[in-house]
């Protein structure tokens, strides 16, 4: 018995002749935030549905808080936010959340929770009159019910404005701080970048990467970009010394691997007054994602 909140071992899922998930293994520890990235159709939502026990596995093993997926213990310890969720338009936010709290079998401070997600003023209005973002917030409120051991969020940022996204990540941090294992399926890379502990990438049902952002960058060996701005007419001289490309009258762009980075910086420093400014761009998640999502596809 492990103390992982969520363990996925060699999971395989066939739908007819196509293999939707192929030998996927993934663990999420209590308090850890893991991002699950992939194209549409890469198998993210299917993986989440197998964890919920909504779709039977073809092969492999999943344990949620030590229990079988879909068992009542597993369902009690899991919170789920479906992609673009909607609710019955005739109910109010408060009524819908009350139903979920009762189904969960635990008392909850319903107005407090709705306040927490910014629906305090709208809780007695009908869901039919809610905007897409408000419905998403209501979905988020039910994730917070009953201190879940595992939270599965499928595209949680879809339909949210930038400020709501900040709120969302604050809530995810809170969940993680109280010991919930959080799995976020997303393709909003830039936000996931700063807000998760680990990143797993699915490509056509196969897990192609699973590590911290730094380790993935190092493994991929993607170049860091140095943009050097020259003073006066020194641009040609810099381009010659550094071996980069001129991109306009006064700037030179140089690509270097992680292990060359410090050496190149020393070269720049040695040039003294010829350099006016330097800008350094490490590989972004987007580059990484492109690297891992394309690798081996040729």
């Amino acid at each position: 018995m492990t103390d992982n909140a969520l363990t996925i071992e060699n999971v395989r899922k066939d739908r007819g002749r196509t293999t939707v998930l192929d030998d996927v293994s993934l663990t999420v520890n209590p308090g850890e935030r893991v991002a699950l990235l992939g194209h549409n159709g890469a198998g993210k939502s299917t993986l989440i549905k197998t964890i919920l026990g909504l779709t039977p596995l073809t092969d492999g093993r999943i344990r949620v808080d030590g229990a079988h997926p879909g068992s009542s213990q597993a369902r009690r310890s899991t919170a789920y936010l479906p992609e673009a969720v909607s609710f019955h338009p005739a109910l109010t936010g408060r009524e819908q959340l009350t139903l979920f709290a009762r189904l969960d079998g635990q008392g909850a401070d319903i107005p407090g929770l709705l306040d927490r997600v910014g629906l305090g003023d709208a809780m007695d209005r009908r869901i039919g009159a809610y905007s897409k973002g408000m419905r998403q917030r209501l979905g988020l409120a039910q994730v917070l019910l009953g201190q879940p051991k595992v939270a599965l969020l499928d595209e949680p940022t879809s339909g949210l404005d930038p400020i709501s996204r900040q709120d969302l990540y604050a809530i995810i941090d809170e969940l993680a701080a109280q010991g919930t294992a959080v799995l976020i399926a997303s393709h909003a890379l830039t936000e996931v970048e700063a807000r998760t502990d680990r990143i797993a990438i699915l490509r056509k049902g196969v897990k192609v990467a699973d590590d911290t952002l730094e380790a993935l960058s190092a493994k991929a060996g993607l170049p860091t970009k140095l943009r050097i701005r020259a003073t006066g007419a020194h641009a040609d001289q810099i381009a010659e010394t550094m071996g980069g490309t001129r991109i306009n009258g006064a700037s030179v762009e140089v690509l270097c691997t992680p292990d060359q980075k410090m050496a190149r910086l020393r070269d720049v420093a040695a040039m003294g007054d010829a350099v006016a400014d330097i800008e350094m761009t490490p590989p972004r998640l987007e580059d990484l994602y492109r690297h891992y999502a394309k690798e081996g596809m040729q």
Binding site: E83, V85, G105
Partner: protein, 273 residues
């Protein structure tokens, strides 16, 4: 248990909120009243009280209306949730699928029961007040209400079945309409055609009555007509019912709701949201 009750309470709230309950009750009252007064003419000639005539008219009405109202309420139950994306969320909670379906069923049946009781009750009370009623006709009215609710229960179950098998609420609505047409109209037409072809032969005497009560809508009709002499007299439809044992129609109408619910439960179990 509390989960089942919360589902039922929420469903009831939805039926009240979207005015389904109000509309269904009004429809039932209006139709029952209209039929009671339109059908009040033959009272004198047949020598039965007005409530009996009213129950006979309302029996004919209920065969069409009870399945229709039940299907209208139930076709959306699973397909609608699946379409909104809330079904997967609901199923991620500890409530079992049987519990969810039973909760919806309880609320829907209660709403249907309310509309039936108020509708038939009002019309019956007015008929009794204006044209007299006896113990027999009061029992016939109570039987009409109870069997209408049973008939509604059958079609609630069939509606859930269709809803679980459909990919969308629109498809479920279409299938429900087809189901209604088959059970309430086409089945009888088919039987009628067979009887005419047979020309009073072996089929008409032995197999036909059983085929008739196998359909819950016909079992409902037979039960109401055969159990009351007055109603049978007023409807003039006693012939077929008399060749069957007395338990046949009640058995059919009691087995069907259970069967329909179990079929729906089995179909719901296989739904992957």
């Amino acid at each position: 248990m509390t989960r089942f009750l919360s589902i039922a309470a929420t469903e009831m709230l939805i039926l009240r909120r979207n005015r389904w309950l109000l509309m269904a009750t009004i429809v039932m009252v209006l139709f029952a009243l209209a039929l009671t007064f339109a059908g009040s003419a033959p009272t004198g000639t047949l020598g039965v009280d007005m409530l009996t005539i009213s129950v006979t008219s309302m029996t004919t009405l209920s065969v069409y209306l009870a399945p229709l109202l039940a299907l209208m309420i139930s076709f959306d139950a699973i397909a609608g949730e699946a379409e909104r994306g809330s079904l997967s969320l609901l199923l991620s909670y500890p409530a079992g699928r049987g519990e969810i379906l039973l909760g919806k069923f309880a609320a829907h049946l209660a709403a249907l029961g309310f509309a039936m009781t108020v509708g038939f009750g009002t019309a019956g009370a007015i008929a009794a007040w204006s044209g007299g009623a006896g113990p027999d006709s009061l029992i016939a009215l109570a039987r009409l209400i109870a069997t209408s609710i049973l008939l509604g229960a059958v079609f609630l179950g069939l509606g859930y079945l269709v809803s679980a098998l459909s990919r969308s609420a629109t498809a479920a609505a279409g299938l429900s309409a087809g189901l209604w047409l088959v059970f309430v109209v086409l089945y009888d037409l088919g039987l009628l055609g067979a009887v005419v072809m047979d020309g009073g032969g072996n089929f008409t005497r032995t197999i036909f009555p059983w085929l008739m009560v196998a359909n819950p809508a016909d079992a409902f009709r037979v039960w109401n007509i055969a159990a009351s002499d007055g109603v049978a007299l007023a409807s003039g439809m006693a012939g077929a019912a008399q060749t069957l044992p007395a338990w046949a129609a009640p058995a059919s109408l009691l087995i069907w709701p259970v069967l329909a619910f179990l079929l729906a439960r089995a179909a719901f179990k296989r739904v992957e949201p």
